[in-house]
């Protein structure tokens, strides 16, 4: 670390990136960069690309489900679409997007010159394009890509899986490696590089939520790596971890997977909580209500997330005592989450609120994420879950927490920080159009799914009984409106970067924190001298 500090200090503070001439220079600059802002940008563009790719897959699914019967794709391809859509949205969109934001924001928020391990940072990012190339290549293999859902349940993923599954396994290994290294870097940065005076309880909420998330990641990604390694061994090395014929147990896979899988959903949502906790105070012009409680709530959500995993497996025949235990621990998570929602609402209460695009997305987050939380509570009830398990109700539930929840928080964060990152103002009118089209269409898409699920429509099927037609049509129409509205977002971001109006300081009058003391855009190397924190 002392070496990298010395390196930065030796340079002129305001020089830009070292970029050579032509295409080669461009490639070299981005391939070898160790600057946290550059790497953040790379992560964010990767996430943007994957977002449209996985979104297009979702539209294939919704097009097929517009009417009963098989219209466009065969069932095997349909299953590949659901699998890939899930895997890419999780590992290719939400996680890289938040890692990108962590790269951009955390050093600026805590007054650090860069990430603690800049070269590791470069490697963490550059593993990802290769991992996704590997994953996407499976679509072109003979026998097709993985078709067993993103949860890759054995024996679907071992005995009955297409040959390309091995590519998926190695791709998951690479993504895991990337996010483990990214997390180690984030923890090292937060714990070691804070500016003098920035003690833990003065850190911005986004930094806090990322610290917890990074700890979750280093605890669970190795477990996922273990699970897929066991899959690989079962497929090729004659072991039978998950094969009942050899004394193994397919249910074991579900336990190992969900031991990773449940904390994983908090990996996705905790940074979103952090973003919302930054945006709402800014546009309410009040400090965050109950900062300490927010921190403790985040820690307790993370701790609880390790002892709830079997609520994904209520119908596998686990004993009654275990069902009760996992039901109660799951419902307990509603308490810290409720504290968070209460604090966001209290922050807005009697605030001098204005409704710029980031704030609109943040408010929509609070409303719609809470709906997703409530359906989660319904699913946590053992007797009710016996009816809801593997229906569209589950699909509705997790899309409510992930789309108007996590994805909306990513939009809020992008609109909020884009002027800081680029020094240019995005088009507010276009941003509002993006918001209103998204918030309406997201409800048209996902709300009917709850009714479909309650009426008994199973998830992951390309065809369905006639009585489900109307709600499916509504959902598909909503999905296409939602999908195409996102082009407004893409256009707005590109337009801002290339031709946006220069932003005048302060970017947001209500924004506080170290990153806002820097110019917009911030110098390529910021905080080479640690700032003084009161």
């Amino acid at each position: 670390m002392s070496q990298s500090m010395a390196h930065h200090a030796a340079h002129d503070e305001h020089h830009g990136p070292a970029q050579g001439k032509g295409v080669f220079g461009f490639i070299k600059r981005w391939l070898f960069t160790t600057n946290h802002k550059d790497i953040g940008t790379l992560y964010l563009w990767l996430a943007m690309t994957s977002f449209f790719l996985a979104g297009a897959m979702a539209l294939v699914i919704r097009a097929e489900l517009f009417e009963p019967g098989l219209q466009f794709v065969n069932p095997n391809f349909f299953n590949q679409m659901t699998t890939m859509h899930g895997l890419i949205m999780l590992f290719g969109v939400v996680m890289p997007a938040f890692t990108g934001m962590a790269n951009w924001q955390i050093p600026m928020m805590i007054g650090a010159p860069d990430m603690a391990l800049p070269r590791l940072n470069n490697w963490s990012f550059w593993l990802l394009p290769f991992a996704f190339a590997l994953l996407l290549s499976t679509m072109f293999h003979s026998g097709g890509g993985p078709n067993f859902g993103w949860t890759m349940y054995a024996p679907l993923s071992t005995k009955y899986a297409p040959a390309s599954t091995d590519f998926m396994i190695f791709s998951v290994h690479m993504m895991g490696l990337s996010s483990i290294m990214g997390s180690i870097n984030i923890i090292a940065t937060i714990l070691n590089l804070r500016a003098p005076g920035m003690n833990l309880m003065k850190m911005p909420m986004f930094v806090w939520t990322w610290l917890i998330t990074a700890f979750l990641l280093i605890a669970i990604m190795p477990v996922l790596a273990g699970a897929v390694t066991m899959m690989l061994a079962d497929r090729h090395f004659g072991t039978s971890f998950f094969d009942a014929a050899g004394g193994g147990d397919p249910i074991l896979f579900q336990h190992v997977f969900w031991f990773f899988g449940h904390p994983e959903v908090y990996v996705l949502v905790l940074p979103a909580f952090g973003v919302i906790s930054e945006v709402i105070p800014t546009f309410s012009r009040k400090p965050l209500f109950g900062y300490h409680f927010m921190v403790y709530a985040t820690v307790s959500i993370a701790a609880l997330s390790f002892i709830v995993w079997a609520h994904h497996m209520f119908t596998t025949g686990i004993p009654l005592g275990a069902e009760l235990f996992f039901m109660y621990t799951t419902m307990l998570i509603a308490v810290p989450t409720g504290i968070k929602v209460f604090n966001w609402v209290s922050t807005m209460f009697k605030g001098a609120m204005t409704f710029e695009t980031p704030m609109l997305f943040a408010i929509a987050f609070v409303f719609l994420f809470t709906i997703g939380g409530f359906t989660g509570l319904m699913l946590a009830l053992v007797p009710a879950d016996y009816q809801y398990q593997d229906t569209y109700f589950v699909v509705g539930h997790f899309h409510y927490v992930l789309v108007p929840g996590v994805i909306f928080s990513l939009f809020a964060a992008t609109y909020y920080w884009l002027p800081k990152w680029t020094g240019k103002r995005y088009n507010e009118c276009l941003g509002k159009w993006h918001f209103w089209l998204s918030v309406i269409s997201v409800n048209i898409t996902f709300f009917p799914m709850h009714f479909l699920g309650l009426a008994g429509m199973p998830r992951r099927i390309p065809d369905y009984a006639l009585q489900f037609t109307n709600f499916n049509m509504v959902a598909s129409v909503g999905a296409f409106i939602f999908g195409f509205s996102q082009l407004l977002f893409l256009y707005n971001v590109i337009h801002t970067v290339r031709k946006g109006k220069k932003v005048e300081e302060p970017v947001w009058e209500g924004a506080h924190g170290l990153e806002w003391t820097l110019s917009s855009p911030p110098p390529y190397h910021s905080f080479t001298e640690p700032p003084e924190v009161k």
């Binding site: 190795p222 066991m230 147990d249 190992v256 686990i318």
Partner: protein, 173 residues
């Protein structure tokens, strides 16, 4: 030279990663021993020391038999009786037909599984072909015996129990 704060922290975090990778694999024996101790998940313990403690004539339980081969075992394998009704405590003897369809001797191990899982610990086997490995020469056939009874303590809400065997190739192991 003493380690810097940074190196110490990163090594610690790396240690956590390695530990959790190991923990993922440790879940396998933890899971198996938990299932065994608690008698859940259909893993039959081959403890046949207890004798039947009286027969419960008040109810009858249907026991169904299922036989499957793993992909590497080209044998004919099926139960000679697919279903019996018996009173808990009542002992019964039946057999599974097995025939080695290959030209060479093979050794197999039968792995039992019980549905519902909670019934597993109430199935008491006195004799079972699954207790030992079975070797058949090429094209040889035999009826493999199974003697068992249901423990009268079997919860009364369970009226059907399915006993499944899968043959697994252990030749040369």
């Amino acid at each position: 030279m003493s380690m810097s704060k940074q190196t110490r922290l990163v090594s610690l975090l790396f240690g956590v990663v390695v530990f959790m990778f190991g923990f993922g694999f440790a879940l396998v024996p933890i899971y198996n021993s938990l299932c065994k101790t608690l008698g859940i998940n259909g893993k039959v313990t081959q403890d046949n020391s207890q004798a039947a403690s009286g027969v419960d004539m008040s109810r009858e339980v249907t026991v169904e038999f299922v036989a499957t081969n793993s992909a590497a075992v080209p044998w004919a394998f099926y139960p000679n009786v697919t279903k019996v009704k018996l009173h808990p405590g009542e002992s019964t003897r039946l057999s599974f037909y097995a025939e080695n369809k290959t030209n060479f001797p093979m050794t197999v191990q039968a792995i039992p599984s019980v549905t519902p899982g909670l019934a597993a610990k109430y199935i008491k086997k006195t004799e079972c072909f699954c207790f030992a490995r079975q070797t058949l020469k090429g094209h040889e056939a035999m009826d493999m015996p199974l003697i068992f009874h249901l423990d009268p303590a079997l919860p009364s809400k369970i009226s059907t129990v399915t006993l499944a065997y899968t043959l697994f190739d252990v030749t040369g192991r």
